[in-house]
């Protein structure tokens, strides 16, 4: 299935129009599921870059790279494992690095306001560090990831648009971590060529 998608994307890209879109985004992340339980605070440290080749005026295929840093300090919390109880400050870091193939469908191509919906498929490297006292527990995983997205492009001029979108990353259980998922609100600039 994975191979088929990759081959399809390659095939589509060879038949692409010359137009392409490159989006630079500032991203705010909100952890859900296990990630949300581990770090409840939203992440204001996130970036993403999206590149799409337009294979038709309505369909773009390409890829996405991103980096989201989730962080929360827990002050003086108490944890129990069997007969052992320990307490102190805990510093939690979760880094998410999605690398996805992606395709978007543009509902009103050529118009000033162009809503779109898309889907990303690929992997996400999750790196979780838990610091307590002088010790660090590191857990990592390469999660197979699905990422639906909806958004809107607002044309600023012939070559630039503003972009607002919502993405939901769902990284399936892998490595040392359970399912890693989060919602991201993105604000970006889109350069057309």
């Amino acid at each position: 299935m994975k191979k088929l998608i990759i081959i399809t994307l390659c095939f589509l890209s060879t038949h692409a129009f010359s137009q392409s879109l490159t989006a630079l985004q500032y991203s705010i992340g909100f952890g859900t599921g296990d990630l949300g339980s581990y770090i409840s605070k939203p992440s204001f440290r996130g970036v993403a870059i999206d590149f799409r080749k337009l294979v038709t005026p309505s369909i773009g295929v390409g890829f996405e790279l991103g980096w989201h840093v989730f962080y929360e300090g827990q002050s003086g919390e108490t944890y129990t494992r069997g007969n052992l109880t320990y307490s102190g400050n805990q510093y939690r870091y979760n880094n998410q690095f999605p690398a996805l193939f992606a395709a978007d469908y543009y509902l009103k191509p050529g118009e000033k306001i162009n809503p779109f919906a898309g889907l990303g498929l690929g992997v996400m490297y999750s790196l979780r560090d838990t610091d307590m006292n002088q010790y660090r527990l590191t857990q990592e995983a390469w999660n197979f990831t699905l990422r639906p997205e909806i958004g809107v492009l607002i044309e600023a001029n012939a070559s630039t648009s503003l972009m607002i979108s919502g993405k939901y990353y769902h990284g399936f259980e892998a490595g040392e971590l359970p399912t890693q998922s989060y919602f991201a609100l993105n604000f970006g600039l889109v350069f057309k060529k």
Partner: protein, 204 residues
């Protein structure tokens, strides 16, 4: 693709900026403080009423194993720590008695310090150092930190382990980075925390 290259440059810049504002975690020495307690679930603390506590706190050093006389932490610091331990035990319903009054439990405090040093040196020196003596000694860089630990052990003198040693029914350990001066508030807070997270120590 020009836009894409520009985008890569911009995203790299943003990435570096993100790296710059990467959360740094602990800021102060007491942010590293850790309080750890371990209990023997099978022991019935409610059955006891009295305990004994020494008036000194031994400082564990390597030389004790070689038969040297024990070293104690300064009395001024020890008296504050022992008073705080007594206060917590009293709140849990325990009465402090002398060791020759047949106490139900012995509370044995101990402390130690350890220093961790990191050495960095130019690792290739072993290879060419002998051949190129004019290049001088390998540069060595050192840095490190010291930690202090206070351990409180509750022992039932009527129970002896298989190896003939006393059995710890409860252990409370406080560990933190040493800041250069004794911080009474910091130590007392950690002692209180150790007892607060051990409500099963309460006796009738």
């Amino acid at each position: 693709m020009t836009h894409f290259i520009k985008a890569i440059i911009v995203i790299t810049g943003i990435g570096l900026a993100l790296q710059g504002c990467y959360p740094q975690g602990p800021e102060f020495t007491d942010d590293y403080d850790l309080v750890l307690t371990y209990v023997n679930d099978d022991y019935d603390f409610k059955a006891g009423a009295t305990y004994a506590l020494p008036d000194k706190i031994v400082k564990v050093t390597g030389n004790m194993m070689e038969g040297d006389d024990p070293v104690f932490i300064p009395d001024a610091a020890a008296s504050v720590i022992l008073a705080q331990i007594s206060s917590n035990m009293e709140q849990l319903g325990w009465q402090r008695v002398a060791i020759d009054d047949d106490p139900d439990l012995l509370l044995a405090p101990a402390s130690w310090e350890s220093t961790t040093l990191y050495y960095y040196y130019d690792y290739w020196y072993w290879w060419w150092g002998g051949f190129y003596p004019g290049w001088g000694y390998p540069p060595v860089y050192a840095s490190g930190y010291s930690t202090g630990t206070l351990v409180m052990g509750l022992i039932d003198p009527s129970e002896v382990g298989a190896n003939g040693n006393p059995v710890l029914q409860w252990t409370g350990a406080l560990n933190g980075l040493l800041s250069g001066e004794y911080n009474e508030r910091r130590v007392n807070t950690a002692i209180d925390k150790a007892f607060a997270q051990s409500p099963y120590l309460k006796t009738n």
